[in-house]
């Protein structure tokens, strides 16, 4: 540093600090849209559109139910979306997502075992932990299979292939467990698997919220390094990062996020894929901005999907996983066909 003579370069840094007004405007519009969407989803529900009568006990109960579903949605969506951002950056792969990589499937298997094994307070606390552990194991298996016979990073396609295979093995085991379970256990697991934002116990919500904020904070701290890692592990090493350490921590945090989401709301796919790509298209790939924005956007996206899910065929409630998948499936195909120019060029 000492060698730098300040006077010999442009002191105002006008070349690298461009005007940020367009970014600020976009950000403002984005936040305004989020607020509007959140408010709208508070107004939607099977009991009718609009603010329920707060004077009556049923009205305030409806509003508080809508609010706790909103919180569930924000947490789950944020976790899935941030997890997708990290997987995509670390694996340098536009299709990486907890669902596609089998991480969600593994977490689901662990969660199913916990749900069937016990009820009550112990189960609701151990659910995120078991889900996390089984997700970590699954990720290791998927990565291990995919990197068989290659030196270094496995290819995009082998990762997705082994992710899909491991994922389907996990769901087969879940099916087996369900078919041998009691009627009540079967009902619990199936409802949970379909994915729903029914509020879980307060204790589990608190634990999940604490873990979620911890993991998000950790990822935000990693985010400048994620930028460097986007150029590959080798280049990040040359630029003075503990590249392997960052990759391991990042993968663990992303897996933790996926496990939190699964243990809260079951299997909800595609949020971790769509939201990061859309956010990257709007705000660019700089992870320092992308991580918080994608978390926020993912939360709101899921809340809106949930509002649609519970309103569209009211009083019948469509599982929210169905809505996200219907919105996300075609999107996934589009990405496969032509990578979005703004968001990802690979």
């Amino acid at each position: 540093m000492k060698r730098i003579n300040r006077s010999e370069v442009c002191a105002d840094n006008s070349f690298t600090t461009q005007s940020r007004s367009s970014v600020a405007l976009r950000m403002l519009l984005f936040f305004a849209a989020l607020m509007v969407l959140l408010a709208l989803s508070m107004l939607l529900g099977p009991s009718g559109i609009g603010i329920p009568d707060l004077e009556s006990p049923s009205g305030s109960a409806i509003l508080s139910l809508r609010f706790s579903r909103l919180l569930m949605g924000m947490m789950t969506g944020a976790a899935l979306s941030a997890s997708g951002v990290v997987f995509q950056a670390l694996l340098r792969n536009p299709l990486a997502e907890p669902y596609v990589l089998g991480v969600s499937g593994g977490a689901g298997l662990g969660a199913t075992l916990t749900i069937l094994a016990g009820t009550g307070v112990v189960a609701s606390f151990s659910l995120p932990v078991v889900a996390f552990l089984s997700a970590v194991v699954t990720l290791m298996v998927v990565y291990g299979i995919a990197s068989q016979g290659t030196s270094g990073q496995p290819s995009v396609y082998s990762l997705i292939l082994s992710g899909v295979i491991v994922s389907s093995i996990c769901s087969s085991i879940i099916m087996f467990l369900v078919s041998t379970a009691s009627v009540e256990g079967m009902h619990n697991v199936i409802w949970w698997m379909l994915g729903s934002l029914q509020p879980v116990s307060a204790g589990q919500q608190l634990l999940s919220a604490a873990l979620l904020f911890g993991a998000l904070a950790g990822i935000w701290l990693l985010s400048p390094r994620l930028n460097a890692l986007a150029l590959g592990r080798e280049m990040a090493h040359y630029q003075g990062l503990h590249a392997d350490l960052v990759i391991v921590i990042g993968l663990l945090l992303a897996t933790l996020l996926a496990a939190i989401a699964v243990s809260l709301s079951g299997m909800i796919g595609f949020v971790g894929l769509i939201v990061p790509h859309v956010m990257r298209a709007i705000f660019g790939p700089d992870h320092r901005k992308l991580v918080p924005l994608a978390a926020l956007g993912g939360g709101v996206f899921l809340v809106v999907c949930d509002a649609v899910a519970r309103t569209l065929l009211a009083p019948v409630e469509i599982p929210v996983g169905v809505v996200t998948a219907l919105a996300g499936g075609p999107f996934f195909l589009i990405i496969l066909q032509r990578r979005m120019k703004q968001a990802w060029i690979a």
Binding site: M1, I4, R225, L231, E234, H237, Y238, G240, A343, W344
Partner: protein, 421 residues
């Protein structure tokens, strides 16, 4: 005073079970411009990776400015040593200034917020590499040369004392290569930056380097000034081909050139074969015979015939007749002379008509003088002469001792047997 910028002390390094570097020792002094040369797969990239602590040496140690590189903190290492890889790929649509800012990553704080010093260094390295105009473009949209300049800018932004380039310029066109080399030379001469360049262009490197390191199969064969290292005998052995080194009498520049001719006749057999072909039936035959090391002659062919074109391209002596004309007696006389010099005659799967039937007399002449003759099977299907003249002649030839062949490998075996008889 000059320091030792980089020192390898008896370094062996490699990957699982496979040792690539074997006991390599050398020193690069601060401010030197060194070219690392050697054939593909000799361990140049492994050497760079070991120098940058990406690979841990199996034995020995690498020092940067006197410190063991394995024990230098990554951030400090990045301020001592920058590596420009062969190619950097950005999977996401980062802009050029975001990419270049990556060079400051290890010195930015926990939150990754660049200070004004970081901005200064990024701007300066972008000016130096002339990529300032590209700063808002997407990196992935740039041409290869532009990307390479951005990569160099990113590494310069690290403000390193040593820059290593891993064949980073070999696939640039001559204009951009010149430009990047100019930048490197300026850095070297003006800022005393130490440069280690992996290069395949020996002539170019000879013009700009202070020293050469020549590697072969994981070992350092020679280190020294370009004149010392660029010895034709050593180079020819290491690169396994015939290389010449010439010194320009006026500028003193060294020029390394390969002799193309030596590639073809790798092992000369001192045997020559005359091929009777036409209509494209001879091309594969010529090629195989040349690879096997035979001298090949051919004829009589009509000009513009694809075999005639092939013979010209392969530099094979051929007797040619005018296009679409029957083979005349002058041409046959010339061809007979060729057959007289040949050790064997091969007849390709050429169709026969009244115009080229006379070529068969060449085979007959060879047979009469006791030379082996090889006829492609299935003449009957290719005989378009009136009264099946070609079939009659070949049957007669077979009776007098000509051999038949139907596959290229069979023919090559036959030829070899005759050669050692």
């Amino acid at each position: 005073m000059q320091y030792d910028a980089m020192t390898f002390r008896n370094v062996s390094a490699g990957y699982k079970q496979r040792k690539v570097l074997d006991n390599v020792s050398f020193t690069v002094r601060e401010g030197e411009f060194v070219s690392l040369i050697g054939p593909n797969g000799c361990g140049k990239s492994t050497l760079l990776k070991t120098a940058a602590a990406l690979l841990k040496p199996l034995s020995g140690k690498v020092e940067l400015f006197g410190q063991d590189v394995q024990h230098i903190k990554p951030a400090l290492r990045a301020s001592l040593l920058g590596v420009v890889p062969q190619k950097i790929e950005s999977p996401m649509a980062f802009t050029v200034d975001q990419i270049v800012m990556n060079g400051r990553i290890s010195s930015m704080g926990r939150w990754g917020t660049p200070s004004s010093i970081d901005h200064d260094l990024v701007e300066r390295s972008m000016i130096y590499t002339d990529v300032l105009d590209l700063r808002e473009r997407f990196f992935t949209e740039l041409s290869g040369g532009e990307q390479q300049r951005v990569a160099l800018a990113m590494v310069l932004a690290q403000d390193p004392k040593i820059i290593m380039l891993d064949e980073s310029i070999s696939h640039l066109d001559i204009n951009h290569r010149q430009e990047v080399l100019q930048i490197l030379m300026n850095l070297n001469r003006e800022k005393q930056m130490t440069i280690l360049l992996v290069s395949h262009d020996l002539t170019l490197s000879a013009g700009i380097s202070d020293r050469f390191l020549l590697m072969e199969a994981g070992t350092l064969v020679k280190a020294g000034t370009p004149v010392e290292v660029l010895e034709p005998e050593v180079l020819s052995r290491v690169y396994n081909c015939d290389l010449h080194v010439q010194q320009d009498p006026y500028t003193g520049y060294l020029q390394v050139t390969g002799a193309i001719d030596s590639l073809r006749h790798r092992q000369k057999l001192n045997k020559s074969v005359h091929v009777i072909a036409g209509g494209g039936s001879g091309i594969e035959l010529y090629r195989r015979l040349l690879i096997e090391g035979y001298e090949v002659t051919t004829g009589v062919l009509n000009r513009l015939d694809s075999d005639a074109e092939a013979a010209r391209a392969l530099n094979i002596p051929a007797v040619l007749e005018q296009p679409f004309s029957p083979v005349g007696s002058d041409a046959i006389a010339q061809a007979l002379k060729m057959v007289g010099d040949a050790d064997a005659v091969i007849l390709s799967q050429v169709p026969f008509g009244s115009g080229n039937l006379v070529n068969l007399t060449l085979a007959e002449a060879a047979l009469n003088s006791g030379k082996p003759v090889f006829l492609a099977e299935g003449i009957a299907t290719r005989d378009y002469t009136e009264g099946k003249g070609a079939l009659a002649v070949t049957t007669r030839l077979m009776q007098s001792g000509a051999n038949a062949w139907h596959s290229m490998s069979e023919l090559m075996t036959h030829l070899q047997q005759h050669q050692y008889r």
